[in-house]
């Protein structure tokens, strides 16, 4: 995180008096910015309350429309018809695009959206633009998100009649630390301070922990441990968490996530209805954008109806002479999206395995997010967990934001006389963090699902005789090779005492502190000496900015294996 969250705690020492006298202390609000929808909630002193905009909506579409004058977003603005959002002037799905380079498959999949997404496939920022008066106005996902957050902030300030600064945001499990910095930057642009970022299913887990705690209070029962499997699927991302809850403590056992969601199903269905849609729409002419919008709306509607009906009739005139008249049934929908469902299954299975939990041990299965209404999704979760029903005590569309609001109150140090805020979440790392070594291999130092805060280390050595420098390249992800992972940063270790290869001991330590700040430490010791050969380097990550894909390739091209490291061979 950009700023340690505990600065808030130390702030209280200076502003303590003011706080205690204030009728309404600064409680951080919870924001759930979904790929397609967004909501804001706050602890109102006795419970979590969702905030409404001037049109009395609790859930708003996440998009920003660019116009001649000022851009306006989905909080203040409302389109009379869904189609208006698809005119090319509006940017949406920014959560899917943020922090991704133009080689990313998710960016490529966004090329068939009404606004412009162009790629050069060289590992830089994609070209994203909105159509304003027939001119493409370039923007960035951070900018769009910031504009949107400014509206959300204004809405919350009106609703709560106080300035808003501190927020707790939910993020997808699969977000890299680089993407997290982009979210933080967008918040900073909107004048918001990120008190905490919670992977979405862990926010749901916190809400569940609170509910269980209250049930115990009411029944005076024993605080036995409950295992929850949480599956969250929205338009852009799928996340899974397994949590063990007892006495208000929500211990996250494992997380799994991927950038697949309703958007993928929508695009698969559009391709199914109009096989060459991507080619037709790729030129982004006015008429093509219009046709694409019509098809998109009709397909979306069909998918929604398929959650409650076994088959639906799709009837759409694309305006360019072609019409689509088709009946789509459940089976067809499932077949078209088979890969999506398979991916969901594998995420859930992986998460249970990582948590070392048998399906029989799961107390409650919680499905949230827009896609949790899809019958196939419900079925596949219940089948894996060998269960007949899902947990009913949670609103699938409001769970994440409510959890974020609870965390906002807890992290702001609010006390509840009824013990409703006696909550604690023990988080784990969603992705492994490691360095490049043994050629192009990714060697994890902090494995995935390590409880945070954490400190882990690993020993490496040089690959060349008299190698005096080593490049420590830090990556995050699950791939075996570095190029499958996200680059977080790099630094050079210089002044290694000349020695034959394999002799110097290079120790790399990674530390994630209480405010989720990652530091990488590297030190060198030559055997026979008790002293460190050079001062230990300690670097805060991520260090890189945009264009990190480009940067990784340049590093590889320039340095090759010259500054490589290898893991120390394990002696028996």
């Amino acid at each position: 995180m950009a700023e340690p969250e505990y600065t808030v705690a130390s702030d209280s020492e200076t502003t303590g008096e003011e706080k205690s006298s204030s009728a309404f202390p600064e409680i951080a609000i919870g924001i759930d910015i979904g790929t397609s929808q967004c909501s804001v909630a706050v602890w109102n002193g006795s419970q979590v309350e969702l905030l409404k905009n001037t049109r009395n909506q609790k859930v708003m579409r996440s998009y920003v429309t660019f116009k001649d004058d000022a851009p306006s977003g989905g909080v203040s603005n409302q389109h009379t018809h869904e189609l208006e959002m698809l005119s090319g002037a509006s940017i949406f799905n920014m959560k899917r695009l943020i922090g991704r380079v133009d080689t990313d498959p998710v960016v490529h999949a966004s090329k068939s959206l009404p606004f412009l997404v162009q790629t050069l496939d060289i590992g830089v920022r994609p070209f994203i633009a909105a159509l304003v008066n027939n001119v493409w106005r370039s923007t960035t996902p951070e900018e769009v998100l910031a504009i949107f957050l400014v509206e959300l902030r204004a809405m919350a300030e009106i609703a709560l009649k106080r300035p808003i600064r501190n927020v707790v945001l939910t993020i997808p499990v699969s977000f890299s630390r680089f993407q997290v910095t982009r979210i933080e930057r967008a918040c900073a642009m909107a004048g918001l301070h990120v008190l905490r970022l919670m992977p979405e299913p862990t926010a749901v887990a916190l809400l569940y922990a609170q509910q269980q705690q209250q049930t115990i209070h009411e029944n005076m029962g024993s605080g036995c441990e409950k295992i929850a499997l949480i599956f969250n699927m929205g338009a852009g991302y799928s996340d899974v968490a397994v949590s063990a809850t007892a006495g208000g403590v929500s211990q996250i056992k494992a997380l799994a996530g991927s950038a697949i969601g309703g958007e993928d199903m929508l695009q698969n269905m559009m391709r199914h209805l109009l096989p060459d849609s991507e080619i037709i729409f790729s030129n982004h002419g006015i008429n093509e954008i219009k046709s694409m919008g019509l098809l998109r709306v009709a397909t979306q509607d069909a998918i929604h109806r398929l959650s409650f009906e076994t088959s639906v009739q799709i009837d759409v005139d694309l305006g360019n002479g072609s019409k689509i008249c088709k009946v789509v049934n459940q089976e067809e929908f499932q077949e078209v999206n088979r890969e999506v469902f398979e991916k969901c299954e594998s995420l859930i299975i992986q998460c249970l395995r990582d948590a070392k939990i048998e399906p029989d041990d799961v107390t409650d299965i919680i499905a949230v997010g827009g896609c949790s209404f899809i019958p196939k999704i419900k079925n596949l979760i219940m089948t894996i967990c060998k269960r007949q029903e899902l947990y009913k005590g949670i609103n699938p569309m409001e769970a994440a934001v409510c959890g974020a609001a609870l965390e906002g109150a807890v992290a702001s140090g609010i006390n509840d006389p009824f013990g409703s805020l006696d909550l604690l979440t023990i988080q784990v790392t969603p992705l492994a963090i490691g360095i490049q070594a043994d050629g192009n291999n990714f060697v994890p130092i902090i494995p995935r699902n390590t409880t945070m805060p954490a400190r882990k280390e690993l020993a490496f050595t040089t690959v060349h005789d008299n190698q005096t420098e080593a490049l420590i390249v830090v990556y995050e992800g699950e791939g075996k090779k570095v190029d499958e992972n996200h680059l977080l940063g790099y630094f050079k270790l210089v002044g290694i005492p000349p020695a034959p290869k394999g002799v110097p001991d290079i120790n790399v330590c990674m530390d994630i502190d209480a405010s989720d700040v990652l530091r990488v430490l590297a030190g060198v010791v030559v055997p026979g000496s008790q002293q460190a050969a050079i001062p230990v380097m300690e670097v805060r990550m991520p260090t890189i900015d945009d264009g990190h894909g480009w940067c990784a390739e340049a590093l590889h091209r320039t340095f090759g294996s010259k500054l490589n490291l290898v893991t120390v061979q394990k002696k028996i």
Partner: protein, 209 residues
Amino acid sequence: MRCYGLTPIHGSECRFFYPNATRSIPIPRPNSRFLSSSVNFFPSKLVIPSPRTPACSLRATINDVFVTEEAAGLSFYELLGIPESGSLVEIKQAYKKLARMYHPDVSPPGRVEEYTKRFIRVQEAYEILSDPRRRALYDRDLARGLHLAFSARTQYQSDEGMEDRNEWTNRWQSQLSELKRRSQNRDGGGDLSWGARMRTRRDELANEL
């Protein structure tokens, strides 16, 4: 000086007591913040309790756990406050109880780093004891009289390269402590070891009185 949750109580001899391996230490009493809302023993993140509250005896108990641990190097069982025969359920309960006390999220202002270190220890004890295979290895060493401190933890984390890694850990830690010593001058003691800080604190307290 403000009295936070872990300030030693003057005249309490038990903070110097060295537990032996066979006897289990006093289990810290449940943190009532989480059990009943009427009494707030444990300070939540922003609420700083007034210096002299009736909760001092509880604080002394919590405090002693860590002072003695610092002095003698507790076994994982002692750290979690459970008998060596403790069941998995007991281990889990003890872990959650200690997490509620020592997770950095519940730390009083300015002591996050210290709480982080303690929580990492509790976490490690929990991870090893809740894994039957690693617990068996640990029990075997404990029975042989190898009373292992945390620096030896890597033994139970990976099967391979034990000696190697162990040696490394020690060396690494000496490097780190060297680094910390150096940075301490800059940070005005912010990076002192926990023990050192407690000693300083005791001295300060003694001077005050």
